[in-house]
């Protein structure tokens, strides 16, 4: 049986020639989408799944903001409110942002390094197809008698151990997400290290590939630790172990240490690919090579290393020894150095460039500005003495939403607009893309900026009711939230229009200033690309000459 993929795809291959030879997609829904081993189809599955989860998690955020619109309890019971905050976070972190980045990795990494597919195509299928089962299991807990998990996404014991019937299902769904992530990460590392085309040396790789290589390493290092942590919760709950029970010689704080050993690298897992996407987009629309390519690579690696030794800054108030507090404070502030290198290089990339402001560029610039705000509030939180005041307030909520929404989510949008023409073969509506950007940018600031003031004034997070003094800022925040949520429907409209209805065909290069292997294949990218690897020279890569 011949299972070798079609063989005459070459760079700049003209679509009409030999088309039916290599572009045959499997027929039928099951064969095309369920049994697929194709990195592009699996990438699409990841992206569609992530978008679905983005709206499910987003609707939970709408419930939260609706309840917080006014002081007092009006819409939901406090326990259901807690289920919403818990599930919103679990869904957004594990269901939306992470799978979306793996979707980008699937689509783009083989195209960017000149590989015929991911290194382990069957396992690639499994990485994705675990997720729908895991999230069905997680979401089903909302319909159980006990309701869903309500102890916060961090699952701190002893509170999380009081979860009812849903507890075991939450733990098992986290296990499944972990299996999916680890397999996805192994595949990405093997693809990057083993599948690069001749001439695609490590320091010629696009920065998106570099950031994903380091992200995948982080995933393999910390997802098993999360699995271990929730396993200990499970045995404490069902099998009488005492890991987090002081009477038995354990300690609930130990869970926090283990969780955040996973949790801090996890936040970089969500943001490093974002750094990569921005580092692709800014050079294209500035028509200049990325400033300080090698420094960007080393900065990414430094951030990843530091992410392993800062975890306890999430727990300054649990009563750690002073030496511990100081170490974690200084180590955390150190991260500002490589992150500062990145922001400096992004700004320098744009400096004196021939800039144009298509939608991907707008989202990327929005990211640079707004992510920096989130980064700076992170530095405030890193100061132990100040954090004692900020801890568990809306200031923390404002901080991590600034780095995750106008940070990770904006770059997901930027990347989607940037590569959508390559994926679909059609141009999206620039007009509606810009409307989406401006509505999102204005509303996201109305949504999250007031939360800084709420937190500084002392409003605690994860509480369905609040003192009347917080009413005005909460109302503004909720209005911004509704507007932001509604704005994202525009994105769905733009994508559907682009894929199914747009009449404007995309060229292979799509963007005037775009460089890199992915722009040398036709738009839409054929089902199989680079069956024979191209030979890469320095002039073909986005950052130009070698380093």
């Amino acid at each position: 049986m011949s299972s070798i993929t079609g063989e005459d795809v070459t760079i700049g291959h003209d679509d009409a020639h030999g088309h039916d030879d290599h572009d045959h997609k499997p027929e039928g829904f099951l064969a095309r989408w369920v049994f697929t081993t194709n990195h592009k189809d699996i990438g699409t599955l990841y992206l569609v799944f992530a978008l679905l989860m983005f709206f499910i998690g987003g609707s939970m955020a709408m419930v939260i903001r609706a309840e917080l619109f006014m002081p007092g309890l009006q819409l939901v019971e406090p326990d259901f409110f807690n289920q919403m905050t818990t599930m919103h976070a679990l869904i957004m972190v594990f269901g939306a942002v992470m799978p979306a980045w793996v979707g980008f990795a699937n689509w783009m990494i083989p195209l960017m390094v000149g590989a015929p597919d991911m290194a382990l195509p069957r396992m690639n299928n499994w990485s994705f197809w675990i997720l729908p089962f895991a999230f069905t299991m997680l979401l089903s807990t909302l319909f159980m008698d006990s309701g869903g998990p309500a102890a916060g996404w961090t699952l701190y014991p002893p509170l999380s151990l009081q979860t009812g019937d849903s507890f075991a299902f939450v733990v098992f769904s986290v296990h499944m997400m972990g299996i999916s992530s680890i397999m996805g990460a192994i595949n990405i590392i093997a693809t990057i290290l083993n599948m690069r085309a001749p001439g695609m040396t490590l320091l010629r790789m696009p920065l998106f590939v570099w950031t994903w290589l380091i992200t995948a390493y982080l995933l393999i290092a910390v997802m098993p630790v999360l699995a271990g942590a929730v396993t200990m919760l499970l045995t404490d709950h069902f099998f009488g172990t005492s890991f987090f029970n002081a009477a038995g010689g354990g300690d609930p704080v130990m869970f926090q240490h283990i969780f955040w050993f996973f949790g801090h690298p996890e936040v970089y897992i969500m943001i490093l690919p974002a750094f990569g996407v921005v580092s692709e987009i800014l050079p294209t629309f500035s028509r200049k090579p990325l400033f300080g390519y090698a420094a960007m690579v080393y900065a990414t690696a430094s951030i990843a290393f530091l992410s392993f030794i800062v975890w306890a800054h999430h727990m300054f108030t649990v009563g750690m020894p002073l030496e511990g507090e100081l170490f974690f404070m200084y180590a955390t502030m150190l991260i500002a150095v490589p992150t500062g290198v990145k922001v400096f290089n992004w700004v320098s990339t744009m400096w004196k460039g021939s800039m144009t402001f298509e939608t991907p560029m707008l989202f990327a610039i929005g990211f640079v500005v707004l992510f920096t705000i989130g980064g700076l509030s992170g530095l405030m939180l890193a100061i132990t003495a100040s954090d004692l005041q900020y801890h568990d307030t809306y200031f923390v909520v404002a901080h991590f939403h600034y780095v995750l929404v106008p940070g990770a989510v904006f770059t997901l949008m930027a990347g989607a607009y940037y590569w959508l023409p390559k994926w679909s073969g059609n141009m999206y509506s620039e007009r509606w893309g810009k409307i989406h950007f401006w509505l999102s940018t204005i509303s996201v600031n109305v949504l999250f900026f007031p939360q800084h003031y709420l937190g500084l004034a002392g409003m605690p997070r994860r509480i369905p009711d609040y003192a009347p003094q917080f009413a005005d800022f909460n109302m503004w925040s909720s209005l911004g939230g509704f507007a932001f949520g509604a704005s994202q429907l525009i994105f769905v409209g733009v994508v559907i229009h682009c894929v199914f209805f747009s009449k404007v065909k995309a060229t292979a290069r799509v963007w005037e200033g775009a460089k890199g292997l992915e722009w040398t294949v036709p738009s839409p990218a054929p089902h199989h690309t680079f069956t024979h690897p191209p030979t890469v020279t320095a002039s073909m890569v986005a950052h130009g000459e070698d380093h």
Binding site: S3, I4, P26, T37, R122, N187, F243
Partner: protein, 289 residues
């Protein structure tokens, strides 16, 4: 076409095994949830899930083995498999690191703090009056009641020798494979499987002894928790490794693998060495110290 098959990276078309695996995994874990919540029928669907996963593993690996034996994998595919296995083992290392971390943290910090060290004198005085830090311990609440511990230089030391020796035998098997000595290969590999089984036999005996005679259970406070979690997950991995070795043994008897191409063998050998190294950590930190 054959020419290209030599040179190009093998990309399989369509596979139904991952979806089979997902259905099995969801059946197994979903049932486990209901089982833990007290449903009796869920126990049976749990086993159905396990059976589906076993079916998936046989089907999936069987297909890969057939493809490998038919020679359609080139050196680059081989490297992908190697990287996959190496990074999988790294993830397993981190999984064990989590439980070792729990052991170290509990022993070096939590228990002394409960006993009043650092700035915890008043906590000890008010909450856990009279509790003095010691190890092994089941905590100030003496959770699980009195218990004894397994001496390091009995069964555990014997098991250390068994596993170390099995590391030697599998290396001998590898050399035999590379030298094309098929009979020696099968014998050394069979010896490795036997040593793995012997290890598991003694481990079970030790558990029976702990539960029946020593009062040491999973519920014996932090000592019982860390002891059984670490040795239990290790035992599970030895079981898995022994099953993998057995499969490799049958494959060798069926004439699989060549002196210069035997990734499946090497992957299992790596895994076996990994299990061995984890045991050395266990022997030192759980039994001796």
């Amino acid at each position: 076409m054959a020419e290209h098959a030599e040179g190009t990276y093998y990309v399989p078309h369509g596979t139904r095994w991952p979806m089979t695996g997902s259905i099995g995994l969801a059946t197994m874990l979903g049932s486990a949830g209901f089982w833990l919540n007290g449903s009796d029928t869920a126990m049976w669907t749990f086993y159905v899930g396990v059976a589906i996963i076993i079916y998936m593993i046989f089907g999936w690996f069987g297909q890969v083995i057939r493809e490998s034996e038919s020679g359609i994998y080139n050196a680059q595919v081989d490297t992908s498999f190697r990287m996959g296995m190496a990074w999988f083992i790294f993830s397993e290392v981190m999984f064990f690191a989590c439980f070792f971390g729990a052991l170290f943290y509990a022993r070096a910090l939590v228990v002394p703090w409960l006993g009043g060290s650092s700035n915890n004198a008043s906590t000890n005085e008010i909450l856990w009056q009279g509790f003095m830090a010691h190890w092994p311990t089941n905590g100030p609440g003496e959770v699980g009641g009195d218990f004894g511990t397994i001496p390091a230089f009995g069964i555990p030391f014997l098991n250390t020798l068994i596993l170390l020796f099995s590391g030697v035998t599998i290396t001998m098997a590898h050399h035999a494979l590379k030298d094309g000595k098929r009979r020696a290969l099968v014998l050394w590999l069979a010896a490795t499987v036997a040593l793995g089984a012997l290890f598991l036999f003694y481990q079970v005996e030790e558990y029976v002894h702990a539960y029946r005679d020593l009062g040491l259970t999973l519920g014996s406070g932090i000592y019982g928790s860390t002891f059984f979690m670490l040795t239990g997950f290790h035992g599970l991995h030895v079981t898995l490794g022994a099953i993998m070795l057995t499969v490799i043994l049958f494959r060798c008897m069926a004439g699989h693998f060549k002196p210069d191409s035997h990734f499946g063998f090497e992957a299992v050998a790596w895994y076996w060495h990994f299990v061995d190294v984890v045991w050395l950590g266990l022997f030192i930190f759980v039994y001796v110290l």
